[in-house]
Symmetry: C2
C-alpha cells in the first residue's frame, strides 16, 4: 500500500473545531487507500508561557531542560489529535520523538537527525494504525530529549517519509501553496503548480516562510516530493520535486523579498590592512549571519567592504566590530538602515544570460536605486530602499511575465 | 556516600518563589554530604485544563493518550526545578519516567512499577549530579508512556530509593507530619514522632491524605524508612519505619475519620437465596469498593447484609443492584446516608484485649450511636452519624490519652 506523510501546521490546534476539520482531512486520505503518517508542528502558543516561566527561574537555563519543556507541547498536540481520530473510529497512536525512534546528533550548535529506526512506525502502519508523530524532536545518544530547532517539524516529516518509503509529504500550511510573489504585496501573484527543490530553496532562503530550507534540502537529497497545500481548503497546492515538465519555458519562477535589512560598511586605510577572511571569521564566530557581501576596490579610494545583516543582529554586530577593531585592522565602520532585499528566482536563469541586466534595467526605469547586488546560478538579489520594495517586487513580477498563467 | 530521596509536593510549584525555597532545602541536604535524588509530584493545576480539552474532543479518550498528555506536567516541573538548581551552581538533570529507567506493567486496570534500571540514576549520582525524576510515570514494554495513577509519585520515590539503596525517603507535604488525629477537628491532636508501616497503612486507608497507602506498602516490603515532613518549615517530621522503640507503651497511635459514608442493606427472603460471594463479586466487577460488611443472621428475622460505600459510587451501586436483582436473589435493598467512619489505630492493640470494648463504652457514654463495626489486628472502625463524628473523634482521642506527649 502506498504511503504519505502529512505535516500539519500550528493553526490546526487553535480550537477543537479545527482539530475536527483536520481529522476529516486525514480520514479522507486514509479512505483513498493509502497509509498515512501525521507529523505535528511546534505549538508556540503554549510554548511561550513556559519559556517565560523558565526564564524567571534563571537567566541562562540549560538547553537540555528548555528542550525537555518545549517538547511537551507537540507531545500533547499529538495525543489530542490521536484522541480525535480514535473518536471517529480510526486507530491512531501518538508518538514522541524517542517513541518514533528518531535519534539526533549535535555536531555544533544545531541539532540534526542522525537516523530514524522505522520499525516501530512500519509496524503500526502494517496493522492499520495512523501514527501521529510529535515533530521536531528526538533523543541523543544519552537519551536526552532534543529539539531540532527551526524547521524541525518539516524536517521530521521528510525524514520519516524517507525512512518508511513514503511517496510524498503533504505540507499543510495557512497558505494554499507557493506563490510567484507574496500576494500581500503583489496583487497579481499566482500559485505555482510545480517548482524544483533548488528554486524552492532559494525562495525559502529569501524569506518565503512556507517551508524551512532545511526540510527542502533533505527532500532534495532523497528526492522526496513535497506537496505544499492549504490546511483549510482541500485544493491542489504546489508540488516541489526534482524534475519539472515545463521548466525550460520559464526563466523566473518567483519574486521574494525580505524587509529590515541593514548594510554595514567597514573601511580600511590601505589594502595591506584589509583581511576579509578575518573579518567574516570573527563575525561567524559570534554567530552573526552575513548575507550579501560587496567589496569596493577603486584606485585612489580607500578600500571598503559592505555586507548586509538582519536587524535582529545589528547591535551584536556593532559590538563585535568595536571589540575587534584593532585586531581586524579597519579604520572606520558605517551603516545604512531602512533597506530591503528583493530577489528573482528561477532555474531557467542559468541558461538565459541577461536576466540580471533585464532586472537592473527595469529597476532603473522605475527609479529604484540598487544598493547591493548578489547573484547565484538561479537567483539575483538586490538591496533597495525599503520604501521602494513593494514597487520593485511588483515591477519585477510584471517584467518576467509571472502575471500570466505560465507557472 | 549515603543517599536520600526527596519527594516534593505540588505546592512547591505554585510560584517561582516556592521553587527557589525548595531549591535551598535541596541544597542544604546536599551540603550535608549526602547524595540527593528528587521526585516531582503530579501538577494538577495544569493537568485539569488539558484533561478538559481532551474531553471536548472525545467522550472516551484512550488511557494511553490521556497518560501521555498528563505525563508532561511533571516532566515540565522537573525541568523547571533542574533549571533553578543549575542557577544556584548545582548540577541537576530532569528525568522523565522512561529516562529514569522505570518500567511498568498493567496486570489489570492498575499500572504498577515492574522494575527500575538504576544504572542511569546511579551514574548521575556518581558524578555529583542531582537527578530530578518526574514522579508517577514510566513506560510499558511497548514504550508507551504510562501513569502510575493515585499515589504514583510517592510510589516512584520509594521505588527509586529501594533501587539505588537510599537510606530514607523524605516525603515533603503541606502538613508538618502525621498527627494523632486531624488537627482541624481534634484541637488537641499531636504530631507523631514515629509510627510503624502497618499503623500508617491503616491511617492512610482510613482517610489520612498525607501519604498514599500504596507507597507505604512498598516501603514496608523493602523496609525503607519514610520521613513525612513539611515542605515549608525545615523541622522534624514523622518517621515511618518497621520497628519502633517505644511501641509497647502505646495501645492507640491515632484517630482517623472519613465522611460521607453510605450504608446499603440488602435483604433476602431466606438463607437459601443469600449468596454473599455473588453479591460482592458483582459489585467488585463493577469497580464498587465496599468497606465494612455486616451480616445479620437472627432467628425468625429475614437475613440481611449491610455494607458501607463512599458517596461517589452510590448511584452506580444502586444501578448495579437493580440490574442484577434477580440473579443475586435478594428481596429488598435499603440505604442510610449521613454517616461517617471513625477509627482508632495502633499496633499495640493486638496484645491489649478490651480496646474495642473501651471504645464502645466511651461512645455509649457520649450518647453516640454505633451503626456498624469493623476490626482488624491494629484498628477498630465504627460507623456513626456524621453529625456526631467530630465529637466521637475528640472523645476517643481523649480516651486513649493521645493528648499527652507520649507519641
Amino acid at each position: 500500500m502506498s504511503r504519505i506523510v502529512i505535516k500539519l501546521d500550528e493553526h490546526t490546534f487553535v480550537s477543537p473545531d479545527r482539530i475536527d476539520q483536520i481529522t476529516k482531512r486525514i480520514i479522507n486520505e486514509k479512505n483513498k487507500g493509502v497509509d498515512v503518517v501525521v507529523v505535528v508542528p511546534y505549538i508556540h502558543l503554549i510554548d511561550e508561557k513556559l519559556r517565560q516561566y523558565a526564564y524567571t527561574l534563571s537567566e541562562k537555563p540549560t538547553q537540555r531542560e528548555i528542550d525537555s519543556i518545549r517538547s511537551t507541547n507537540t507531545q500533547i498536540a499529538s495525543s489530542l489529535l490521536s484522541i480525535a481520530l480514535n473518536k471517529n473510529g480510526f486507530q491512531a497512536i501518538s508518538l514522541t520523538g524517542w517513541q518514533a525512534g528518531i535519534s539526533t546528533v549535535t555536531p555544533n550548535r544545531n541539532v540534526l537527525i542522525d537516523h530514524i529506526e522505522s520499525e516501530k512506525v512500519n509496524n503500526y502502519l502494517k496493522t492499520g494504525v495512523i501514527p501521529i508523530i510529535a515533530g521536531g524532536q528526538g533523543v541523543d545518544q544519552e537519551n536526552n530529549i532534543t529539539l531540532l530547532g527551526e524547521g524541525g517539524p518539516e524536517t521530521t516529516a521528510v525524514g520519516v517519509a524517507v525512512a518508511i518509503g513514503a511517496e510524498r509529504v503533504d505540507i499543510y500550511t495557512n497558505a494554499v501553496g507557493v506563490f510567484t510573489a507574496d500576494p500581500k504585496i503583489v496583487k497579481t501573484a499566482k500559485k505555482i503548480k510545480q517548482i524544483s527543490y533548488d528554486e524552492m530553496l532559494e525562495l525559502s532562503l529569501l524569506g518565503s516562510k512556507i517551508i524551512h530550507p532545511r526540510a527542502v534540502e533533505l527532500a532534495k537529497k532523497f528526492n522526496m516530493p513535497l506537496n505544499v497545500c492549504s490546511s483549510i481548503e482541500d485544493v491542489a497546492g504546489t508540488l516541489i520535486k526534482g524534475e519539472l515538465e515545463m521548466e525550460r519555458n520559464l526563466i523566473v519562477r518567483g519574486v521574494a523579498y525580505e524587509t529590515d535589512i541593514i548594510r554595514l560598511t567597514v573601511g580600511y586605510e590601505s589594502y595591506g590592512h584589509a583581511s576579509l577572511a578575518s573579518l567574516f571569521t570573527t563575525l561567524a564566530e559570534n554567530h552573526i549571519n552575513v548575507d550579501i557581501i560587496v567589496q569596493a576596490v577603486i584606485d585612489g579610494v580607500k578600500p571598503t567592504v559592505s555586507f548586509s545583516i538582519e536587524k535582529e543582529v545589528f547591535a551584536e554586530a556593532i559590538s563585535v566590530l568595536e571589540t575587534n577593531k584593532k585586531q581586524l585592522g579597519f579604520g572606520f565602520a558605517d551603516f545604512e538602515v531602512g533597506l530591503a532585499k528583493v530577489s528573482i528566482v528561477g532555474s531557467g536563469m542559468a541558461s538565459n544570460p541577461g536576466v540580471a541586466a533585464r532586472m537592473f534595467d527595469r529597476l532603473k526605469n522605475e527609479n529604484i536605486q540598487v544598493k547591493m547586488v548578489s547573484t547565484s546560478e538561479i537567483k539575483v538579489s538586490v538591496v533597495v530602499p525599503q520604501d521602494d520594495m513593494v514597487r520593485a517586487a511588483n515591477a519585477l513580477h510584471d517584467e518576467f511575465n509571472l502575471v500570466e498563467e505560465l507557472v
